[in-house]
């Protein structure tokens, strides 16, 4: 099967900065693909390479099997939902949504009907006459989505589309985007720096750092079996364990990772397990996050709310199941 988007050794350099550095990537048609990474990791540049706003310095990009280098953005059947929506302030909502069809020469009644339908799809029917300036952030977000979807793109690119929304709205939009993607069957490529968002929405996640892809896999893969210290730390702030420590419990001298929720905290000193001292507690509602100091090694544990907690400074014993200790590929 042809990939929806395929990168072969794609690089994009800005002067001496390697924004994207020899990236290989295959996005399967119809999947929800997330690009996750800290700011400046090259994920947005990758998105812009797919959209056509950037051209690769080297390497080749193909979209549904067709070579895309040198093809301008307006000749690609790919649409983008921009981070700050980029709605046209001088056009009504309906004209914004119909814009793509208008420039393609679709007649007025036809394109307005399609725009109305797209607005219904994003649950904003009847908003067509308003100006973008009269809408709330969440509504603008939906208009931007409708404006892209009305063109029936083969690939929809979303550049941190939920970044400007407040938490509650963001959670709602996450669910809506996910179900919309399922219903339409369009390939979604989603850029985010929020690991929770990437894990909850995507079929597959690519973790970026320094212009390179650190790991590609399902959310479970990425979360449970990080390959490098960076991935373990960035995705869900896992405890990264040094080779000395890991050797004691697994017999192998490798870097390891241990999820904070896999650590059990027992009160009192002595007994089986890792001796540690409680540094501070951080109440998070459903859970409580504990910062621990195990002989100089800083660890985090997450315990469910309602657990009897030791006081700060108290000596504790940490235990965990051996199978939860994940050994990473990164050499010691």
């Amino acid at each position: 099967m042809t990939s929806a988007v395929s990168f072969q050794k794609v690089s994009r350099h800005f002067g001496s900065v390697r924004a994207v550095d020899a990236v290989d990537l295959d996005i399967v048609p119809g999947e929800f693909f997330a690009m996750l990474g800290p700011s400046g990791s090259g994920k947005t540049t990758c998105l812009r390479l797919i959209a056509g706003f950037e051209q690769p310095t080297s390497g080749s990009i193909s979209i549904f099997g067709e070579r895309a280098e040198g093809v301008p953005p307006y000749r690609r059947n790919v649409n983008t939902v921009f981070q700050d929506y980029a709605l046209f302030p001088h056009l009504s909502v309906l004209d914004n949504v119909a814009y793509g069809l208008m420039v393609k020469g679709v007649g007025k009644p036809e394109r307005q009907k399609a725009a109305e339908e797209a607005l219904s799809l994003v649950r904003l029917p009847g908003y067509g006459a308003r100006r973008p300036g009269q809408l709330s952030g969440g509504q603008r977000q939906r208009v931007a989505l409708a404006r892209a979807l009305v063109n029936q793109p083969k690939v929809l690119l979303l550049d941190e589309p939920l970044g400007a929304l407040d938490l509650k709205l963001r959670e709602n939009m996450q669910e809506e985007l996910k179900s919309l993607q399922k219903a339409l069957g369009i390939t979604f490529v989603f850029v985010t720096h929020d690991q929770g968002e990437a894990l909850s929405m995507a079929d597959r996640v690519a973790v970026f750092n320094d212009g390179k892809i650190m790991q590609i896999g399902t959310p479970e893969d990425i979360y449970q079996r990080p390959r490098t210290r960076f991935v373990a730390d960035f995705v869900g702030s896992s405890n990264v364990l040094p080779p000395d420590f890991v050797e004691r419990y697994s017999g192998q001298r490798r870097w390891g990772s241990l999820r904070p929720e896999s650590i059990r905290v027992g009160r009192g000193a002595g007994g089986e397990g890792v001796a540690a001292r409680l540094v501070s507690t951080n109440y998070l509602g459903a859970t409580t996050k504990l910062a621990l100091d195990a002989d100089g090694l800083r660890l985090h544990a997450i315990v469910p709310a309602g657990t009897a907690l030791p006081v700060e400074g108290e000596a504790v014993v940490l235990t965990f199941n051996r199978e939860h200790l994940h050994l990473m590929d990164e050499p010691a």
Binding site: A51, G52, F53, P72, P73, Y74, V78, N79, T80, F82, D84, A86, L87, F88, P89, H90, Y99, G100, M102, V103, K104, R147, A148, N151
Partner: protein
């Protein structure tokens, strides 16, 4: 360390210290009643504008409703529309039509020349290049208007630089052919409407570039990307996004170029034909002819035209993107 030790009690500030003197009391008054401060600040300029500026303008306009006694040359201070009727005499109508056509052409040409420069400055110029842009635009405004116009007379004269340059390029025939055309032609560029037009565009161009650049600067770059992303070619993006969003700037610039051309009397005097423009007509009517009512009526013409122009621009939605 205790807080007491860090901040000795003896120097602790009072919670609500007094206002302290007249200045303090005045500051407090302005803080409590911000409108008083606003009133004090606005009073002098409003008086200046209201009495000196608008007042003298109205005094002038009132003159246009008087008439002149054709035998004695004295002003008859009785309300009449006769002077306005005089504007519609063929010779005067010619002057108005000539001026409005020139102003419209100058505005159009300024917009066309200004847009790419403004676009470059707003989108691409950074740092040193931007400073150079502002310097290049503003520098001609620092030198005397008269000096610039006389410089252009030398450039456009029959023995001038332009003729010399075209001669060197073996393109003399081009100037000759253009000058042999009716209306725009003449003996040399410096005594033709073409020359007047060129100098008008040169002198008013900065007033078009700056507002267009300011308007383009406010257009977020991602709107251009969004348009392209949605399938618009660069030409379509210009027509549907850039131009409508730059339009308030173009209209603002055109108010300058249009009204300044309508009122100017020096450029057509020095570079151009012997046919009058409105400014020259006002000058000669209130000066040598001593017909102040007609001069006043002539000055009303640009004001009325600008009123219609702004009304039309608003109706066409030129200010929608503001």
């Amino acid at each position: 360390m205790s807080l007491d030790a860090a901040m000795p009690r003896a120097t602790a500030p009072a919670i609500l210290p007094g206002s302290g003197g007249l200045r303090g009391a005045l500051s407090d008054l302005f803080w409590r009643k911000p409108r008083v401060l606003l009133l004090l600040m606005l009073l002098p300029p409003v008086l200046w504008l209201g009495i000196v500026y608008i007042g003298s303008l109205f005094a002038l306009l009132a003159q246009s409703f008087f008439s002149i006694d054709e035998y004695s040359g004295l002003i008859n201070r009785q309300f009449t529309l006769k002077t306005y009727g005089d504007l519609f005499q063929a010779a005067n109508l010619d002057i108005i039509l000539r001026t409005v056509t020139m102003a419209a052409l100058v505005t159009l040409a300024s917009a066309i020349v200004a847009f790419p420069i403004a676009y470059y400055a707003a989108r691409y110029a950074r740092g040193r290049w931007k400073a150079l842009f502002y310097l290049g635009i503003m520098l001609p405004l620092w030198s005397s208007y008269l000096v610039k116009i006389y410089a252009w007379k030398l450039i456009l004269a029959k023995e001038g630089i332009l003729t010399w340059l075209f001669g060197k390029l073996h393109l003399q025939w081009l100037i000759d052919a253009w000058l042999s055309l009716p209306i725009v032609g003449g003996n040399s560029l410096s005594v033709s409407f073409t020359g007047t037009f060129i100098v008008f565009v040169y002198v008013w161009l900065p007033f078009m570039i700056l507002p267009v650049q300011a308007a383009l600067e406010r257009v977020p770059g991602n709107l251009v990307e969004a348009s392209s992303d949605l399938g618009a070619s660069p030409g379509q993006t210009f027509r549907n996004v850039l131009f409508p969003l730059a339009l308030p700037g173009i209209v603002a610039g055109s108010i300058f170029t249009f009204s300044l051309t309508l009122g100017d009397y020096i450029i057509p005097q020095i570079i151009g034909t012997s046919r009058l423009f409105i400014g020259q007509a006002v000058y000669s009517q209130q000066g040598t002819a001593g017909n102040i009512p007609l001069a006043a009526a002539f000055t009303v013409v640009p004001i009325v035209i600008m009123g219609f122009y702004l009304w039309g621009a608003k109706r066409m939605g030129a200010f929608d993107a503001l």
